[in-house]
């Protein structure tokens, strides 16, 4: 026998083994990479949003020394007085050298349209300031705001810049006089929607979201729990029950926009409910979240051991008593977790609300279930579509707040699950 053969076959095997181990290593790295890539996407997403949105919580204000002229402000007709004129005359007196209509217009554009309304509110709230001079911080216009936050660069050619050279000069002078500064943007949390980015806020959308979610919760939780209890504890094993089960599993996977079509055709067209209201939004979202709540509710009921049921039945409880007094309370934490997750889904849902008209431009803050309203995700969609550049940071800020709500809801769900989870 040649003693070369075993050697070469061992070499062959070793070579092959090395190759197999290399593949093993690469396969493993590939898997790790897939996880890293997904997490990196999440990181990029969050960093972009926070990077774009964090500046929205501050707002640039300009200090004006307004003389509340008794001639302009007629006490008998305060609501119709010329407040914009007050602002304009003050700006003119700050920069007396500005002449010509075009330059004046540029000057007026430094402060927001909201300044006049702010003055009006001040005067209507306290008429005693008429005739006096008071320094007032009014919001700057969106372009000045963007420039002041460094989002418009001086180096850009003037024709491509929203802030012109002459306006730059004025802003610099305001800055040396300490008349312009960044402050906390409370408007963002107290105002409704607006066409002017510096005056727009999320309060309206937030109220709309809360109203819509109240409707959703009030309907989907009891119905979902009842359905889960029926299917898990009472339903006979027959075709009818099978149909219901298949239906629920299917509904969980139906595209959300189809629910919007249903809402439009049934609630609005057939029942004649009003458009754009939280009531209809809540009804549509109820149908969407029901499958989630039912499926998690059934899982929670399944987790309750049969011994509990048998013990209850053994001491003479009826089936209904067994479920209501023993099984349901034990399954409740799991059901609540599922409900919170369903609510979080409803909170982020946009598409079905578009078709039932919750995309309207609504300035007023909704106070009831049948007031026209919009919700946070739709507000984000509307702002993202707005041409003004300043809405980018507002959109991102609104997204930050929406994500904050979502993450805290999920955290509560995880906490509930951890706290009340029982291993039997």
């Amino acid at each position: 026998m040649n003693n070369k053969t075993p050697d070469s076959s061992r070499q062959l095997i070793q070579k092959k083994l090395a190759r197999r181990y290399r593949t093993e290593k690469w396969f493993r790295r590939l898997g790790a990479m897939a996880v890293l890539i997904s997490i990196a996407f999440l990181g990029i997403l969050l960093v972009t949003i926070v990077g774009k949105g964090s500046s929205a919580f501050q707002q640039t204000f300009v200090k004006l020394d307004i003389h509340f002229d008794a001639e302009v402000l007629d006490v008998k007709n305060l609501s119709r007085a010329n407040y914009p004129g007050l602002v304009k005359s003050n700006l003119r007196s700050l920069f007396p050298e500005v002449k010509g209509r075009r330059d004046k217009k540029k000057l007026y554009n430094l402060v927001s349209n909201g300044a006049a309304f702010q003055l009006q509110d001040m005067v209507m709230g306290d008429t005693s300031i008429i005739g006096r001079t008071k320094s007032v911080w009014v919001p700057a216009s969106d372009d000045v705001d963007l420039f002041f936050k460094g989002k418009i660069s001086r180096d850009v050619v003037e024709s491509n810049r929203r802030i012109k050279d002459i306006q730059l000069k004025w802003i610099d002078r305001l800055q040396t006089e300490n008349r312009i500064e960044k402050r906390l943007n409370t408007t963002f949390f107290t105002a409704g929607d607006s066409r002017d980015p510096e005056l727009a806020g999320i309060r309206g959308a937030l109220s709309g979201t809360i109203l819509t979610l109240i409707v959703t919760l009030a309907l989907s939780f009891p119905i979902g729990v009842a359905t889960a209890v029926y299917l898990e504890e009472f339903a006979p094993k027959n075709k009818w029950t099978d149909i219901i089960e298949v239906n629920i599993n299917n509904l969980a996977a139906v595209p959300s926009i189809v629910f919007g079509l249903l809402g439009l055709a049934v609630y609005i067209n057939f029942f004649g409910l009003p458009r754009s209201v939280p009531l209809v939004g809540g009804l549509v979202l109820t149908l969407m979240t029901l499958p989630t709540i039912i499926i998690s509710g059934r899982a929670a009921l399944k987790a309750v051991p049969p011994s509990i049921r048998e013990a209850a039945l053994g001491i003479g409880a009826s089936r209904m008593q067994m479920v209501m007094h023993h099984v349901l309370p034990l399954a409740m934490p799991g059901m609540l977790t599922g409900t919170i997750i369903g609510m979080a889904q409803a909170l982020g849902e946009t598409a079905p609300l578009l078709t039932i008209g919750m995309v309207a431009f609504i300035v007023d803050i909704p106070g009831s279930f049948i007031d026209p309203a919009t919700v946070m995700p739709v507000q984000i969609y509307l702002w993202a579509d707005s041409p003004e550049r300043a809405f980018v940071e507002k959109t991102s800020a609104a997204i930050m707040i929406l994500l904050l709500f979502l993450i805290s809801m999920n955290a509560v769900a995880v906490f509930l699950r951890k706290k009340f989870e029982k291993s039997w």
Partner: protein, 462 residues
């Protein structure tokens, strides 16, 4: 009496019913000699009374709420002068709207037609009258139910059994809502779609190569003929879905393999919640991200390579949609991989296969049906996804195979056709329902196949 006030009154009445029923039962038991003589515990008598009072009034309240507007409208229209009644339906609707706004007091325009004013007064009167009749009827009904039941309570009455029977009916009713929802979806989408197919033939819709949903307002308008061929829209949907799946399936599957087969417990506890966050981010946020960050990035990097990339390219929307679906694919595959019996892995490893060989040659083939099911579910999700494409994909229906061009999808078209001031019965609006029907049918088929496949697979290893 306003609706909310009436609801509160009815709730209080129900509560009163509970207390009265319970009291009555206790009193009867006292006469008969102690609570042990009662068939059920006193609370059940109270509950029964409350259910008798609360259920019918509440159901009637809902029915009233839904039918009242139509009845009042009919009565007001009947009270209008005959020449107004003969107006076409949409004009009549406008007149009625004016009447309603007038009653709200928010119409400030100077000229007020005396007829309209009279009708508005009539409307207000009817509404007022209706709310009082409603309040009175429901209150009397509830009170009557309470008194009838209280007079019937005896110690022998099987209150618990009756309450349980009613509760079971309520539970059964709740569980049928899922069926009502499906039926509602099918009926609403189907009916509107059928109306659409009366104007546009089904074959034109399914096989037409041009999509331009314009309808003429005047007969002689330029470009008055709309084209409702769904092929370009479907092609766009398919392309974006394909791009999304080519991102989501490899990454999601590999992530699932890594997390379930290789990762240490520590890595898993960190990575899994992070993936869940990725799954929980609202789609509108992904849409914003796609439109504002990814699309410009792709356009610029395409520009560096000398490619002409549209600013609403299919690839940007598809890519971000893929990212959105990664956690979906990975969690479904994770479940499926976990269901593969450990014995199969042990056998393969025992024969000397490396870990990756075991995964590639044993675990994945065994898990394949389940993975396919999961991928089908993911495809159905990608097809139905709306916000990302509404914000990042285009509106014009191009029939192209170039992923750098703008294409449109079914969901985008539904949203654009419905968000606006169209009349409800114009073909333009109805086209949205035809697309909705298409979407529903396609996703339904995918879901059913996927659910059946996954269920079969689970049974195989259980």
């Amino acid at each position: 009496m306003s609706s909310s006030l009436l609801l509160i009154v009815l709730l209080v009445l129900t509560l009163v019913g509970y207390i009265l029923g319970r009291r009555r039962a206790v009193a009867m038991a006292g006469v008969a000699g102690g609570s042990a003589t009662l068939h059920s515990r006193p609370a059940y008598y109270g509950l029964l009374t409350a259910l008798w009072c609360g259920l019918p009034t509440f159901v009637l309240f809902l029915i009233w709420q839904f039918t009242e507007p139509a009845i009042i409208k009919g009565l007001v229209v009947a009270g209008l002068p005959p020449e107004m009644q003969k107006l076409p339906a949409n004009r009549l609707g406008l007149v009625f709207n004016e009447i309603r706004i007038l009653t709200g007091g928010s119409l400030v325009s100077g000229t007020r037609d005396a007829v309209i004013q009279a009708a508005a007064d009539h409307y207000l009167h009817l509404k007022n009258l209706g709310s009082w009749i409603r309040g009175g009827t429901l209150f009397v009904l509830g009170l009557g139910a309470i008194s009838i039941l209280c007079s019937r309570i005896t110690t022998e009455m099987r209150a618990r059994n009756r309450v349980e029977k009613i509760s079971r009916m309520i539970l059964l009713f709740c569980s049928t809502i899922a069926i009502f929802t499906t039926v509602g979806i099918i009926l609403s989408v189907l009916f509107e779609a059928l109306r659409f197919f009366q104007t546009i033939p089904l074959t034109d819709f399914l096989f037409g190569l041009k999509w331009s949903p314009q309808m003429a307002i005047r007969a002689d308008q330029v470009g008055s003929s709309g084209a409702f061929g769904a092929v370009p829209v479907l092609a766009g949907t398919m392309m974006i879905t394909a791009i999304a799946m080519s991102v989501a399936v490899p990454i999601g599957l590999m992530a699932a393999v890594y997390l379930s087969e290789y990762a240490t417990k520590k890595v898993r506890t960190v990575a899994k919640p992070l993936l869940e966050i990725l799954a929980g981010i609202p789609t509108v946020v992904y849409g914003f991200f796609a439109a504002l960050t990814v699309a410009p990035f792709i356009r610029e990097s395409g520009g560096l390579l000398g490619l002409d990339v549209s600013s609403e390219s299919a690839i940007a929307a598809g890519l971000v949609m893929g990212i959105m679906i990664i956690p979906f694919v990975s969690s479904l595959s994770d479940d499926v991989i976990h269901a593969v019996p450990q014995a199969m892995r042990d056998a393969s490893l025992g024969l000397g296969a490396t870990h990756s060989e075991t995964i590639r040659l044993v675990v994945l083939p065994a898990a394949l049906p389940g993975i396919v099911g999961g991928v089908l579910l993911a495809v159905s999700r990608a097809i139905g996804e709306t916000m990302i494409v509404v914000m990042a994909a285009g509106l014009s229906a191009n029939l192209t195979a170039n992923p750098l061009k703008a294409v449109t999808t079914v969901t985008v078209q539904i949203v654009t056709l419905l968000v606006g001031d169209q009349e409800f019965d114009s073909p333009k609006t109805l086209a949205a329902f035809a697309l909705g029907l298409l979407l529903f049918v396609v996703t339904l088929i995918l879901n059913v196949i996927a659910l059946v496949v996954v269920r079969k697979y689970r049974e195989q290893y259980e």
